[in-house]
Assembly symmetry: C2
Homo-oligomer: 332 residues x 2
Amino acid sequence: MGLDAPTAKPHERLATALATELTAVDALIRQRMSSEHAPRIPEVTAHLIEAGGKRVRPMLTLAAARMCGYEGEDHTKLAATVEFIHTATLLHDDVVDESDRRRGRPTANLLWDNKSSVLVGDYLFARSFQLMVETGSLRVLDILANASATISEGEVLQLTAAQNLSTGPETYLKVVRGKTAALFSAAAEVGGVIAGAPEPLVRALWTYGDALGIAFQMVDDLLDWTDGDTIGKNTGDDFRERKLTLPMIHAVAAASIEERTFWTRTIEKGDQREGDVARARELLERHGALEEVRKEALGWADRAKDALREAPEGELRDMLHDLADYVVARIS
Amino acid sequence: MGLDAPTAKPHERLATALATELTAVDALIRQRMSSEHAPRIPEVTAHLIEAGGKRVRPMLTLAAARMCGYEGEDHTKLAATVEFIHTATLLHDDVVDESDRRRGRPTANLLWDNKSSVLVGDYLFARSFQLMVETGSLRVLDILANASATISEGEVLQLTAAQNLSTGPETYLKVVRGKTAALFSAAAEVGGVIAGAPEPLVRALWTYGDALGIAFQMVDDLLDWTDGDTIGKNTGDDFRERKLTLPMIHAVAAASIEERTFWTRTIEKGDQREGDVARARELLERHGALEEVRKEALGWADRAKDALREAPEGELRDMLHDLADYVVARIS
């Protein structure tokens, strides 16, 4: 049974359908990671890039371009661009403050120090910038420049919003659009633009990526509460890190006065004690917060699938459709 | 006596000659720093940008464009771009590791934490990217993409080279071209490009910025040893931070076996004791290292001035000429 058999997962089937292009993207990534002047750079990035991620973002670019009839080769440059940007943001997310270490935050950057994470991340941003300039498309550059600004605005907004109990669903959505959905939507959109797709289709690709990214992040925030054992993480990591996600935002909105005191102590003041995670979980269930987020995530996956109606029928469209289902499969 | 009197400093005379454009640049910077979604951003950046820096980099862009006969307004966007990139690199330089704190490195980021420095720096990079895309010049984008890669390669190279006694003058030059000269040269070059200057003049502007930047950094590295009291810093800060600069590189190259043991202990192993700074200073003088660097810096200032022969005669060329002298004035 090959990877393209019907039981293969959607991202695996996409990888099979796009195998030639993904090989070209990998070659480009390896080539552009190398640095004559600073040999330490590939050493740091190889760890992240070759860690066997699902490569969903670059596949969105490749699939969108091919689905829109693109026959050139610049889509591989854009796919590599998108992967570089993603890797750079991972490296910058790894930068921690001493206070974070004290709170027991899992430090992804144990292998390298803060300084390397920042500077190598900057190098990858610069490399991605060079790659997109090579496509010669000002519209692509405009889209990716705007996505970059949205990403960093979302990350900065999260810094202030995460421990603030007045953070509502709208602010959560802004953060998620920044830290996750902006790169998904730009990845799909530039695929359509490089292929010269008509405007309604370009907009539909943006909508697909945006909705897929939001569903993806909501599932992640939900699984943090329900799926601790299976992925090597503890339940309630976001709570421990004092990071308000949508389930907690809903529970805070519905909180009694006494419950609000609990959230103020644990999230705003960071005074967490034995049994607090279980208490938080119980409050989420009491107010139906997990079920509410589950429905919202499914709704965003539906919006992603709806957007694909604008796209040409075919194997790639079907796979992108199934990818939206797959993103929410673990909560369906 | 006005600021444009002959006794005013060259950067002050440039600021007077470019006053209208600098006002436009300032307005653009303030406008683009603002963030509807993340109000914390201008709060962090205003401190840096409005701290009254000399704005040498944006003035290079404005002066180069005007000297080449430019009459449009995109040079102000590029000048703001250059200042944003400079500010972003300052923010990222502020990121420190716990080990750095322990070594007593002066922490410029006491006001904000590592995470804010990284993310707000990323935001400024993204904003600069948007501004340059607005000029619609792919050549400008190419120059600034390459400069960004050179900058971050230089910074990463410094991480590994700074505490390695086998670092020679060539590696030092690569680091300096990255961390300092690449933005000076790109700033001057894009001014010429946006003005549609002929190729030899564009190349000359690059050479001017490159040489000016190298002279600037060499003076900085020299003053670290000779000028401690007047700028509120201690003599030998680079030594304390185990950062090999050109004066130390020359002294290491000329070191006796016993002197080399000293450098290995203090720089490579970081075991520094009372009296070591004075000892290091004495070794620099014994081998004429400070005088050697002084001559090299003056040589780079001369190269900068030579490059200007390609430029149209006039007030702006004279000011850029005097700026090269001014950069090395404190060591002349």
